[in-house]
Each structure stands twice: as C-alpha cells, then as structure tokens.
Symmetry: C2
Subunit: 380 residues, 2 copies
Amino acid sequence: MATVINKQVLLRDYVTGFANESDLVITSTNVDLRVPKGSMTVLVKNLFLSCDPYMRNRMRKPDPLSPATAQSFTPGMPISGLGVSKVIDSGHPDYREGDLLWGAVGWEEYSVITPIPNLHFKIHHTNFPLSYYTGLLGMPGMTAYVGFYEICSPKKGETVFVSAASGAVGQLVGQFAKMMGCYVVGSAGSKEKVDLLRNKFGFDDAFNYKEEHNLVATLKRQVKILLHPQNKIKVIAFSMSIKPIKRFSLFSRCFPQGIDIYFENVGGKMLDAVILNMRPHGRIAACGMISQYNLQNPEGVYGLSLITYKRIRIEGFNCFDYFHKYSEFLEFVVPYVREGKITYVEDVAEGLESAPAALVGLFHGKNVGKQLVVVSRDLE
Amino acid sequence: MATVINKQVLLRDYVTGFANESDLVITSTNVDLRVPKGSMTVLVKNLFLSCDPYMRNRMRKPDPLSPATAQSFTPGMPISGLGVSKVIDSGHPDYREGDLLWGAVGWEEYSVITPIPNLHFKIHHTNFPLSYYTGLLGMPGMTAYVGFYEICSPKKGETVFVSAASGAVGQLVGQFAKMMGCYVVGSAGSKEKVDLLRNKFGFDDAFNYKEEHNLVATLKRQVKILLHPQNKIKVIAFSMSIKPIKRFSLFSRCFPQGIDIYFENVGGKMLDAVILNMRPHGRIAACGMISQYNLQNPEGVYGLSLITYKRIRIEGFNCFDYFHKYSEFLEFVVPYVREGKITYVEDVAEGLESAPAALVGLFHGKNVGKQLVVVSRDLE
C-alpha cells in the first residue's frame, strides 16, 4: 500500500517554435508514499498545478550565451512548476502529515520535495479556495503586488496600461491600480476577456488587440461625440476599429494624454506601440513578454531611442527576489479578498491528463483568467 | 558701429535619413550690438559651439505622435545648441558686459538670449580652457556624472561597458568608472580612438566595433594563453577578430563573466549584444542612441524579453533634469581636473563655416573626442 502509481507529465524534447501538446507526454511510474525519517524531504500529494508563461522558456534548449535565464527542463523527466499540495509523509521536522503548502513541485500526482524557504510556503489561510495559492495568493499575486507597487512607483491620478490584462497577474494589477486612484486600460485577446476587464475587474477601458490594426493609434485613441449645430453627430477623432456608438454619448478613451505606467506582459509590437505613447518619466515594469516566447525569431522593438528623450525606465523583475515580503503581501491582500474588494477569475482544467493542453493553451490565449490544473480535489 | 554682420548657420529643411552638410546653410544678417535696458535680454558674442548628437533629432520634422521628444529646429532659421559666450551688452540686471557664460545660444556669431536658470550658467572657473564648458565642465560632463553615478548605481568591482567611449561623454564615464574601482571596457570606431581609450583614458580594454563581426562574442571574449607541456602556445578561447598575440602572455578580456553596467550611447545592434551579455540585476543608462538618429527605419532590438529574467533596468535620462546639481558636479570634478586626474580630449573645428561639417561628421564618427566649433578666440 505504501507504493502507488504516480502519473507524470514529461518533456519529450527541447521545444523550438510554438509548443504543442505533443511536446508533453503523460506517463506513469511508481512512488513510495514514505520518505526516510531525518531525510529533510517531504512527500506531497499535488492538488493544483499552476500554468505559467515562463514555463515555455524552460522548454528551450539551454543557451550557453544566456546562462542567467530560466533553467531548462530535462527531456524525459517530469517538468516542474508551482502547485498546491498536501503533505503525505515527512522526513522534515517543520512539516507534518496533513500540512498544506504551495511552492515548487513536479507535474505529477505525488512529488518528493526538499522544502526551501521562499520557494515553499505553508498555507495558513484556508478560508479561501486553495487554488488561489496558484494565483491570487501565490506567485502571480506577489508578481502583481511587487511589480505594481515597487517597480511602477505609481501615484494617484496616473494613467496605467496593462497588457494580457485578464490573465493571472494583469487582472490584479488593474484592480490594484484602481484602488490607488489611477486611470487603467487593459488589452486582451477576445471579447469575453475585454468584457471581464470592463465589467468585473473595473478597468476604465479595454480593447481586444486582435481587432486593432494600429496599436499606436489605438492606445492614443480619443473619441469625442459633439452635437453638431444641425443636431448631426460629429466624430472628432477615432481609430479605425471603433464600433458604431450610441448617439449623444461622449467618449474619451485610452490615452490621449499618454501613458505613465505600463505593466508589460506581452512584449513585441505592443511594447513598441506603448513606448510611442509613453509620457515623460514613464515607467515600464517588464513582468514578462509572452508574445515572444514561442517565436524562433523574436520581434524587434524599434522605438527604444525614445526612452532617452522621454526619460523612460524599463525594469525587468522577478517576484522571487521579493518573497521575503510574502507575509506583508498576504496582510495587504487578504482583507481585500475577504471583503470582496478584490476578485479573481480562474480557468480550471480538470485532471493531470488535461495539463499539456492547459499549458500550451496559454500561448494561444485560450485561458480566461488564471490557468490552473486540478490534479486532485481529494484532501484526504 | 552698433550694427555688425552676424554669420549664422540655418537649417535648410527638415532632414530625413543621414544629415548632410548641405542641410545646413551659412548666411549673414545684421545684428544690433545693443539690447534695450530692462529688456531682460543679453547680447552675447559666441566663442565656442558644442556639436551634440541630440541635435540630429531636432532636424527632424515634428512628430505629432511623439510630442515629448526633442523640439525641432525651424527651417530657414538659425539652429541652436549649447555654447560658450561673452556678454557684449545686457538688459538683464544679473549680467554685465564681459561676463562669460555657457548655455543655449544660436549657431551664429552673436545671439540675443534671455537667460534662463539651469539653461544658462555664468563661468566662474576660468583657469581651464573655456572650450571645456562645451564638454568636460558643461552638458556632456553633467551627463556623464548624472548618468554614471545616479542612473547606473555603480559599485566597486563591477564591470562597466561604455559605447562611443571616446566621445564627449564616454571618455568621462570610463574615467569615473575607473576612479570607482570598476573594470571598464569601451567601444569606438577607429584604431586611433581605441588607442585613446587604452592609453589615455585608462580603460581596461577596448575594441573597434567596426572590426567585429559578432558583437555578442566580442563582448564575451576571453582569451587565455597557456604554456602547453611541449611549450607550444594553446589558445583556449578566442573571438574571430583577435590579432596575433605575443607568446607567453596571458590575456583575459572584455566580459567573460558578463556586464553589470552599460552606459548606452549608440543603440541598435550594440544594445542587443549587450543585453545578451548583461549579468542579473544589470543597469543600462540610456544616454543616447546615435546609431539610430539618421536611420529612416531604426534597427530592431530583439532580445528584450531577457530583461525580465535578468532583472535588467534600462533607464533613459536627460542631464537637464539634474542641473540643480551643477555646482555639486563642479565641486566634484574641478579638483580632479586641476590635479590632472581627469583628462579630456577635444576635436576642434575652426570657424563658423566649418560648423556644418563638424556637426554632420559626428554621425559618421569623424570626431575624435568632444567635437566643438571655435567661432571666435577673440575675448575682447
């Protein structure tokens, strides 16, 4: 009984170009549910796995020219990521059977881990969905918190643009920015997501980037409807993709005065369009550039010489550098979640078998909200 | 006698592509050497004019999409820049005949200016060449000072790369970095400039970027010469462009361990190569991107998604935001100059007629050191 079957998700081989489901293989092995006493290891049962864009970079062949980037997965071995787990057996004095934790685990039903501070966290607040520790209360939450408050240096009244805005991180950045009194616009890749931004997350404006032909103009867009002397409607300025609008409304949208803060999740063409629309002393928090991760030849960014004139700061960051602030983050965010002032949308894939499609789907924008995989709902 | 001829340099028309001498026209007008009392204006005789890369951007047609960038010159009017001047007549209570100042003036023999704090400065230290106020003791000096000490956050022992390193700003950044105990490498566009970097400015290493086919490898370059058991020389690693080297020497050059700080003066391909070679938590001070200013289609930068993994900060800055610190800068730099611990190389063009060629020459790297134009050496 101590040995059970352990389903796993392996990387078939290093990936070039767009990742496919077939790059990941479901397999089974056996696992002993006991770990040696005093081994400092812990055997966990995985409940939820987090699908995150950075994982694409770990599928890449290691690049000797860029040793500082993400550590590659090993072909033929289970991939790893962040997840929520329950301790089954422990050889570590700080963990005991039944403890819940989140942190680095394999993509498998059971993992043997060696808990590492700031990489594995015990879960104390259990009056929220446990899956939130893959998102709102986990790494994406910390990323939004650190990226917005530390990297963007926001001030009340500033204008904020968020790309991939309905995603695991973006939906929180938008809500944080509204709480701070900023004007916030988000971009996403479907009508459903744009509606979420406007109606659920409280963004002031949102657009579907796939429907925009000129992102520079879209970001600058301002539409004013004035009553003409003959009571005809006159559109003063508009971008190509504005839909017919109600009579007698006054619209003023996106960033006619420019962008103070850009929370960058996508890279490529969008980054270029944003730089053109940035205001002087603007800040760009480079959280990630998902549009580039699957390209064999990444897109160029052409407008960088503007950052000198505009005094723009572009800063890459990784929330793992800030996990000493994790408890500070929980103290900040938990009351808002409890009071319903922060909301969170998840996209839940059921079962480890669905994990490859869920992960690959991220890169096509198939997820609506935080993508995660349920490995087991069985807390026993 | 109060009216004299005033030679001027006009912009013929907005420039696209590479600027040519013929885009600038020498002309003459008359100027009254007296200004009305109480007018708050000052008539100055220009002694030295500063040729600066940003001036190319002022030759461009104004771009309504980027109103925050440099203000364009007006075709048919004298261009303007920074210069060193002597007051001939003053309608301003703070200025009197004979005062020396540096700041914004027209490209002409005489200018009527309205002095503006932090844009016009009286010259108090006159025991240096007055031309230094176009460079070492003027805007380029402040740019190097602010860019290196404020934007780059340097620490002793860090590795620093400077492009356009023999130019008005770069030669100072290299010397500041050495004073701080950093390891410093510079790039420039000729053997003469590379020799200056090594032998005059004290750079630890330098290369001619025009002779390098693979800038990524060049920046990473490490050459080790070991004595083989049979006393044969064995080259462990080298980049393509290494010249034959002396026997029995041990070479270790450029950045085998990566770059902590990049002082960015050129942009384009060099920026891309640097990003690939940056160390985690590296900083890039974007002082300017001269390689891009004359291109109708700027080069793309393709490696930006690495800045997230490497936690790189890229920050554009303009020394004019820091001119409240100008006296602090002088207090810092003047003793070093006096003691010969900081040196400065100028490239001097004689006469206003030579000004168009001098300015345009910047964009072809013809200048060796700070490019300036002598309008008059007559201090009377």
